[in-house]
């Protein structure tokens, strides 16, 4: 939906351009030549995207209607994969867990990211350096940091217990990754630390796009810092906030790495995310048809979130 709109938006300008260019040669021939060249230039990209993204998208719907094993023959079984999803404890529980996890991390990421954006948006000395440093955890990536966290969350030897025990918060022997509550707590703190730098960058870009004159005139009118933030920054930042929210919500919904590395979905299946449930069903139990049905549900949910985002943006935009 958004795609055609963006492309359509540029059309008048392009038409004007080609109109000018066309005068150089014989009218029809030049345009035909341009059309052939343009198509040839975009074909490799279209092939890549079709083969590795668009075809699998359609193929997953097809597979979800079969009892596809990883290798071997299959047959159509209609919607029974979808019917069995409702009774699939692994899937249902993974959805509940992923929703809870998303609910826990989303607001802290936004709040911390917003605070960080306030810090780095100014042009004062040091702001660029602070921005770079705060963003580093996001650049390094959650996979690497999950491995580090595994080492540092070990009872008796990890740095986390060493530090927290000094403040009397936990015992030195706390085994973070074998208790569901502790493991989720640790992972959520790690994720907020990892992801708030991205929210900071997105909100900072939005803040810097707000004309400085608005703040100047607010100051002339005697508005306090707080009221300027509330009446200028917040309203004009709604698009950026929506975008960063959607990126973080979709990211949380697709979470896999941190759980796979730090808890393997356990204890039991208590920290199994939706993507992990799909991977287990498809690649451990070799029930690819059922895993595809789960995938289709996930695509729809993520699509709805994204659509809601664009709806929100378009209503407020421009």
């Amino acid at each position: 939906v958004a795609g055609t709109e963006v492309a359509g938006g540029t059309r008048p300008r392009e038409r004007a351009r080609t109109g000018r260019a066309r005068r150089a040669g014989p009218p029809g021939a030049q345009a035909r030549q341009d059309a052939r060249t343009g198509l040839a230039l975009v074909t490799p990209a279209l092939l890549f995207v079709s083969i590795f993204t668009l075809f699998p998208l359609g193929f997953s719907v097809y597979m979800s209607l079969t009892n596809w094993p990883l290798v071997g023959s299959y047959r159509f079984i209609g919607l029974s994969n979808y019917q069995s999803l409702a009774h699939n404890t692994l899937f249902v529980e993974s959805i509940v867990f992923t929703l809870k996890y998303t609910a826990i991390v989303t607001l802290p990421i936004l709040a911390v990211g917003y605070g960080l954006a306030l810090l780095v948006r100014s042009n004062r000395p040091g702001s660029t350096l602070f921005r770079t440093l705060v963003f580093l955890p996001f650049i390094v990536g959650l996979v690497t940091e999950s491995y580090m966290a595994v080492v540092e969350l070990q009872p008796s030897s990890g740095t986390v217990n060493f530090v927290l025990a000094r403040f009397g918060i936990v015992k030195d022997t706390t085994a973070w990754l074998v208790h569901t509550g502790l493991a989720v707590t640790a992972i959520c703190v790690l994720v907020v630390w990892f992801a708030s730098g991205l929210t900071m960058m997105l909100l900072m870009a939005g803040m810097q796009a707000i004309p400085g004159e608005l703040y100047e005139s607010a100051r002339v009118d005697g508005a306090s810092w707080w009221s300027a933030e509330r009446s200028i920054t917040l309203p004009l930042l709604r698009r950026s906030i929506a975008l960063s929210l959607i990126i973080s919500v979709v990211g949380s919904f697709l979470a896999f790495n941190q759980f796979y590395i730090m808890t393997q979905g356990g204890p039991g299946t208590s920290t199994t995310s939706v993507v992990m449930a799909i991977v287990n069903t498809g690649f451990t139990q070799f029930n690819v048809g059922l895993a595809s049905a789960m995938s289709v549900v996930l695509v729809i949910v993520v699509g709805l979130i994204t659509f809601a985002q664009f709806h929100f943006l378009q209503r407020d935009g421009d």
Partner: protein, 320 residues
Amino acid sequence: MPAVRSRAGGPAAAGTSRRVASGARAGARTRGAGAGRAAGRGRTARGGLAWYLIGGVAVSAVFVLPLGWEVIRSFQPESAIGVPLSGKSLRHLTIANYHSLLAGQDNIARNVINSLIVAVLAALVTALVATLAGYGFAQFRFRGSPVAFGLVLLAFMVPFQAVLTPLFVEMHFLRLLNSLIGLALFYTAFNLPFGVYVMRNSFLQVPRELVDAAKVDGASVMGTLTSVLRPLIVPGIATTALYAFLFSWTEFLAALIFMTNDSLFTLPVALINVEAGNYGAINYGLLLAGAVIAMIPCVVVYVALQRFYVRGLVSGALKG
């Protein structure tokens, strides 16, 4: 000054320093009435800046110190990582972990090279294909162009995590499983929508007169691209390649699914074996050394090419 230091002790909330600064400014205004406006303002500006720097350093430390600490830890001998921390154990630092990781029997060096091959290949192919497509979408009119661009944007919204099963079957059919090139091609495809978007914007900003002049001079389509347009689109290419490299270097799930042969694992996946103790007892020294090696290219590439990274973020953020 002592008050300043006690403030900085805690991880000051980012907003605090800003609020403190504006508070100081308000104070200056009332004081300025008696003691000369300019002098008062200069003094508080300096005070505000000091507060700002202290707050900024404290906040930055929260995000950087853990990473720096892991670098130090990775130089501790394995025997010191598995036991309670002590100041004494930090005096003996050694490269033993790196040595046994890269030269030992598990041969993680091979996995590091795998990761480099995949990430560099994906970055190059993404940059090339995205540049061609951006050129085509921005500078040429052809039937179906809006639809084609719409398809690319549609792909932008499809999370690959949700199409893993059909991808696995398809890559099996194409003989691309257990292949570094296959993984690089998949990473290319995943990074292309963003790349095409960035490159199309780059080409749209090129003045039309330049292209027309090249045409009048008889330059071919590709000649125009490589001679006239090249300097103008290099920032876009750098942005595209940088994103593809960082994504491919840190990607975990697809590499885990598409590779079943240990010797073809990328570094992030190979570290699962280290974590699980597949090479004997669990060795946290090896794990930390591997994590630090995984971290280095990200930090180096990002710090060196930061403006291109931020450029990509901002263009994505402001244009939706």
